[in-house]
Each structure stands twice: as C-alpha cells, then as structure tokens.
Amino acid sequence: MVLSGSMRSESLKGHLDMLLLATLRTAPAHGYLVVQRLAEVSGGELALPEATIYPALHRLERAGFLRSSRELHRGRPRRTYALTPAGESALAGKREEWERFARTVARTLEASG
C-alpha cells in the first residue's frame, strides 16, 4: 500500500484508528485483507507501511474496540479481527468528529477564497 503520490503516512497516522474500524465494520478480516480493503476503497491513495497496521489492530483490541480469533482462511490459520459494539460506538464518534472537522476546514478554505 506504499504508493508514490498517495497520501503520506504521517497524514494518516491520526486517522488510522478510524480507517481500521471503518474497514472492519463491513465484515471481520485478517490483517492482509484489511490492507487490501483499504487500498481498494481508497483507490490506492492511502499510503502506509503495511506492517504498521498490526500494532494499531492490537491496540484497538486492547481498548475493546476489536476482538480477534484464530480462524482458518483458505486452509491457513489467520488472526481475524472484528468490530465490537464498543468499536461501533467509537467509530460513530470518530466519524462525527471527522465530518465536523472536514466541514470546518472546507468553510475556512471557502471563506479565504
């Protein structure tokens, strides 16, 4: 997912939690699939060293927003992550926060011409 001309990873760090929770909202997935989904829905615009999502997934799990289990995927054992009810609530909060922020920035830019 490291692509030239895409969003820099520094820009994404602050929003990584929201992106991961949103990606897992559709269906449980293992790490590789999470990366694939992020790449697909963003049209390849999200640039992040793929290894960095795992510590984030672990942290979200410890926070109670995700839960994980070992499951077989195409005959291979994989740790699969799923959103918990607490994760749903957290995502809703982050989404609201993001939309407010985006509206504010848009208004500010429009006002400045």
């Binding site: 997912m1 490291v2 990873s9 449980p28 293992h30 790490g31 590789y32 990366v35 992040l48 060293p49 793929e50 290894a51 960095t52 795992y54 510590p55 984030a56 672990h58 942290r59 410890r62 839960r67 994980s68 289990s69 070992r70 499951e71 077989l72 195409r74 005959g75 291979r76 054992p77 994989r78 740790r79 699969t80 799923a82």
Partner: protein, 373 residues
C-alpha cells in the same frame, strides 16, 4: 537463517524487537502470515519468481524501522518481568520430556489400550497400515497417497491420552498422533499445506504432533483442536528462527504458572515441560476450575499474568478442566477452544461461539458432568 526476502525481513525484526516485549510473537507471526499471503498473491497474478514476489511483499511492508517504531509505540508494558538473579534449578531436565504432577484426579486412572495404525511417508515406500477400521485404513491410504512426499514419519491412531477427556467421550479409535521430521525449512510450509493433512480429521477429532525425542531439527509441539468445522493448529516453527530469544528456566516457568494460578483461583494440576532443543522450552499446563464465579475474568487474569512467560517460551498451552476432568477451556499458541457450557458466547473468539443459539446447541453436546459443576 537466510531463506529469502521474507525470512531476512523477519530476522531483522527479531533482532530489533526486544525479546521480552509483550505481543512480540503474535506481531511477528502476523507479519509472516501477511508476507506469505502477499507473496503468494503477487506470484499468482503476475509472472514473477518466488523471490521477486517476496521482495515485493517486503517492500510493501515498509522498512523494518517503521514496523519496530509502530510496535514499540503501541505495545503495552510487560506483564511479567524476568528476575535479574538467575534461579538455581534443582533437577535440570535431562530428558526430552518431564512431567511434574502436582495433583491428580482419581478418575484419571482408566486408560484403554490404544489400537494403533502406523504410517510412514518419509520415503516413497509402501506404507504399512494396520489397526483401526477398514474405512479408516482406506481413508488413510487415500490421504497419504494424495500427500506425496511429506515429512510425516509416523502417524498413530488410538485412544486419546487420559488428559483429553473431552475427546474420549467419542466412540471409536479417534486419536491420531503425528510425528514430523524436518530439516527445518519445510515444516512451516508443511503445516500450511491445508487440505491433505486436515483431511485426516475426517475421522478424527484431534491430533497431536510430537517432536521426535532427541531431534534438534524441530522445536516445540504441534497440536490441533477442532469442533468439527473449525480446525486450528498449535504452531511450530523450524529451528533457528528465534535463536536470540532465551527461554526461561523450568523453575521460573513453574513459579510463574503457580503464582498466576493462585492469583486467579485455579488449581494447578500439572506443568509439563518439553525441551525442544537448543535451549528452547515449551510448556503445557493443566488447571482445574473449581468455581464458575467470574470465570471469564479469572481466565483473562491468568492469561495476563502468564503473558510475559508465554512470549519467552517456544510454546505455551493451557488446559482448564472442571472438577470432573472435562475440558472447559483450551488455549495454545494458535488456537482456543471453550466448552460452551462454561464460556458461551465466548468473549475471546469469533465464530460459532458468538451466537447464543449456537451456544445452546453446542452446550448440549458437552459432557453432562460440566453441567452439574
């Protein structure tokens, strides 16, 4: 060990991520899974050599420093700090296996003689199959014929060991023991092979692969647990992958487990230690759950209290039994299993145990003694 770009990348991370860091093993395991899947996908979609596919997968991971920084920034503090002073070990393990039995239930005495089937597939020779039923032998033959050259050196069918009480309730010779020989490089691939090996579970509910005593080429043990639909392995790795990780001493293992059991109000029944060669140690612990009160919370507390130890061991498997000796919860490196009568919906795993309806169905299949506990 330099086996290719993926191995080199992971070796670099192993050097950089502190061996005692909590969650280290899980992090590295997940990265390996990710890299192998990415390399497989790249190799399948574009005309690429395996080496090129691995290089691409590693590039997409980002530099090792990014992974280490992300891990260090978000890893929790250690749950257990190894003692600074070396522990004097009385009775150092000299053999391949030592069992320390702290207590034993009276009902564990009756073990039926095991009807066995022995198979060998190391070389392409006719494999003698005996024991079991005619259908089992035919099925085993088809499976082995389909596997081709493997590093299975012995498969034995029979009754499960006394400790596997949950499986002993199933009629027939359901126990399958697999012994694997390996030069180290092919083992992981072998375990990931999928259908041919797992096919053996058509007539099995469990198998355990054990390390050949005295063999330095394989470390740890390999076990599977299945509920009939989901099968998860107790992971094993080729020798040399984590040479930098020092194992705790047997005395430290026993002490940490004893303390964790006491603090979580579980009765410690046994600590089985397996010397897996090259200073590596795996442990299998059996505990008895005497009370249902706060079971999930106490289970989690035990896991947290032993997390630091688990990260330093080659393998750490825990089995919780009720006072009747029926299995309540099993946790290995790569699998978890819970008795639906005790832990359902299960807060620790996904899958069928998250559905209340499924929980009720599964609970009915569990031994009745658990219901009365």
């Amino acid at each position: 060990v330099s086996g290719g770009p993926i191995d080199d990348y992971l070796a670099e991370l192993r050097r950089r991520v502190p061996w005692h860091a909590r969650g280290r093993r899980r992090f590295l395991d997940e990265l390996r899974d990710h890299l192998e899947e990415a390399a497989d996908a790249a190799g399948a979609s574009v005309a690429m050599t395996r080496n090129e596919a691995e290089q691409q997968a590693v590039r997409r991971m980002g530099p090792p420093s990014a992974a280490v920084t992300a891990f260090s920034a978000q890893a929790p503090s250690r749950a257990w700090v190894p003692p600074a002073v070396a522990v004097v070990v009385a009775g150092v393990l000299a053999g391949a296996l030592v069992v320390t039995k702290a207590s034993s239930s009276a009902h564990r005495g009756a073990t039926r003689a095991a009807p066995t089937v022995t198979l060998a597939a190391w070389a392409r020779t006719t494999i003698p199959i005996s024991g079991g039923t005619r259908a089992m032998r035919a099925r085993a033959r088809r499976i082995l014929d389909g596997i081709g050259r493997t590093n299975i050196v012995r498969v034995a069918f029979g009754r499960p060991r006394d400790g596997f009480r949950q499986f002993r309730a199933v009629p027939g010779p359901i126990w399958l023991s697999v012994t694997i020989g390996s030069d180290g490089l092919g083992l992981r691939r072998f375990l990931d092979t999928g259908p041919p090996l797992w096919g053996a579970l058509v007539f099995e509910h469990s198998y355990e692969g054990t390390q050949p005593a005295g063999s330095p080429s394989i470390r740890g043990t390999t076990e599977l647990v299945t509920d009939g639909r989901h099968t998860l392995p107790f992971e094993s790795e080729p020798a040399g992958r984590e040479a930098a990780v020092s194992s705790p001493t047997p005395a430290v293992v026993a002490r940490v487990v004893r303390r964790a059991a006491r603090a979580s109000a579980f009765r410690l029944d046994s600590v089985r230690l397996v010397h897996a060669g090259a200073g590596d140690l795996a442990a299998s612990v059996v505990l008895t759950v005497l009370s249902r009160r706060d079971f999930a919370r106490r289970l989690e507390a035990f896991g947290q209290a032993t997390q630091g130890l688990s990260d330093r061991l080659y393998g750490f498997a825990t089995t919780f039994e009720d006072s009747c000796g029926d299995r309540v919860f099993v946790n290995g490196v790569g699998f978890e299993w819970a008795n639906a009568r005790w832990l359902c919906p299960n807060p620790f795993v996904l899958g069928p145990l998250t559905s209340r309806r499924e929980c009720a169905r599964l609970a009915r299949e569990q031994p009745t003694c658990s219901a009365a506990a």
